[in-house]
Subunit: 233 residues, 2 copies
């Protein structure tokens, strides 16, 4: 029986409350970029929460670039004005958990772009890594084994070859969630994997031959089935 351990949702609610209180405080005190916030201890006392709670809230705002903590000195308002600060905190507070449709939509957007960029920028080393991932995938499928992981690694190899570190990071962020949802909705079939070999090969060839438009086109075809599927869930 649960007694006093807070659930993840409750913890998140506390965090959101603290964040909005920090926003109110910044507005009330008219703090501008570079100004110092009250210390963590004072905030925890003022808000009647633990210092850990305050720290987590600050770290979240730091992740979104709104605050900046400096050791043995204090926490400061980042170089963003109050207007943007208020707007962004509002957005952060209202952020929903990503739904499957939104994930797939974003993945396709990113993958079409990374395929195109990879065709333009891939190094020989990138090509080698992609070939390895492609071969591993092909072998698994031909053996009739599950190849979801190898599929995924081939796509991540393309993202890396795109030379865009931001898109690479974003792909890494959404990939595990995509996998989880794939398994939940049983998206991947064996016959899909079979046709996947040819499609992957086509994408690889286009990138190898440095044909950006073709690479994008082949990636689009690769996703066409998935796209339809996800819009019907």
């Amino acid at each position: 029986m649960k007694l006093d351990i807070l659930t993840k949702t409750e913890t998140l609610d506390i965090q959101k409350t603290i964040i909005s209180k920090i926003r109110d405080l910044i507005n009330a005190k008219n703090l501008e970029p570079g100004d110092k916030l009250p210390s963590e201890r004072m905030l925890s006392e003022k808000f009647e929460v633990t210092r850990s709670n305050v720290r987590e809230a600050i770290q979240k705002l730091e992740f979104y670039g709104l605050l900046k903590s400096i050791p043995q000195s204090g926490t400061f308002v980042a170089n963003i004005g109050v207007t943007a600060m208020n707007g962004m905190i509002e957005d952060i507070l209202r952020l929903e958990e990503p739904d499957f449709k939104s994930l797939v939509e974003t993945r396709i957007l990113l993958e079409l772009k990374t395929a195109r960029l990879a065709a333009l920028r891939r190094t020989d080393d990138d090509l080698l890594k992609m070939k390895e991932a492609l071969d591993a995938y092909t072998e698994k499928v031909l053996n009739g084994e599950d190849a979801v992981q190898e599929d995924l690694l081939f796509h991540l190899a393309i993202a890396k070859a795109s030379g865009n570190s931001t898109m690479n990071t974003f792909m890494l962020i959404i990939t595990p969630e995509i996998i989880t949802n794939f398994e939940k909705y049983h998206v991947c079939d064996k016959d899909l994997a079979q046709s996947g070999i040819i499609e992957h090969q086509s994408i690889f060839d286009a990138i190898k031959d440095q044909k950006p438009q073709l690479a994008k086109q082949k990636m689009k075809e690769h996703f066409s089935v998935l796209y339809q599927y996800c819009y019907n869930i």
Copy 2:
């Protein structure tokens, strides 16, 4: 004079070392999805680091969906096989800090898409919020004041209206970094802001009239100057 406080880079290096040791351990013990890792205390002893260090490393791997901590029970390998696990950890370890070019490239990709989606999906409430942001921006510019924040909030309002929570989150993540770099490289001029009024209005109208292709086109024109600029840095 610095004595024994570690810099942020050193802390990050320790974290990367721990992450790769966790990967080695998973491989050595052939841990599969659902299997339990040794406790944080054991790991900290085995790796000869503090438990805090181990916790941070685990939390990072949890962020990327590779591990899952359950209170009073243990840390478990997520539902991702060893192959994908190894590949993703390799990618995570090699992740670079995002460069400005990569940020702008990604922003443009996202904004073209969110503009299009917003034209398709915007609610009346979305439209109202966008109008408010647009008016605030216009007023500032006409008064000859700096309007970077209002500019940004208009774009974030579009991202929200796109109805895609993942893209919305990604926009929030890159926005502060974009601002910082804008200020560093002095990207925004006053005359840019002037022409920005007309461009923003065009984008807004297209979204209001639910013309996705036009919205995308107007957004593209809005970014054309920026695009050229950033590729010359």
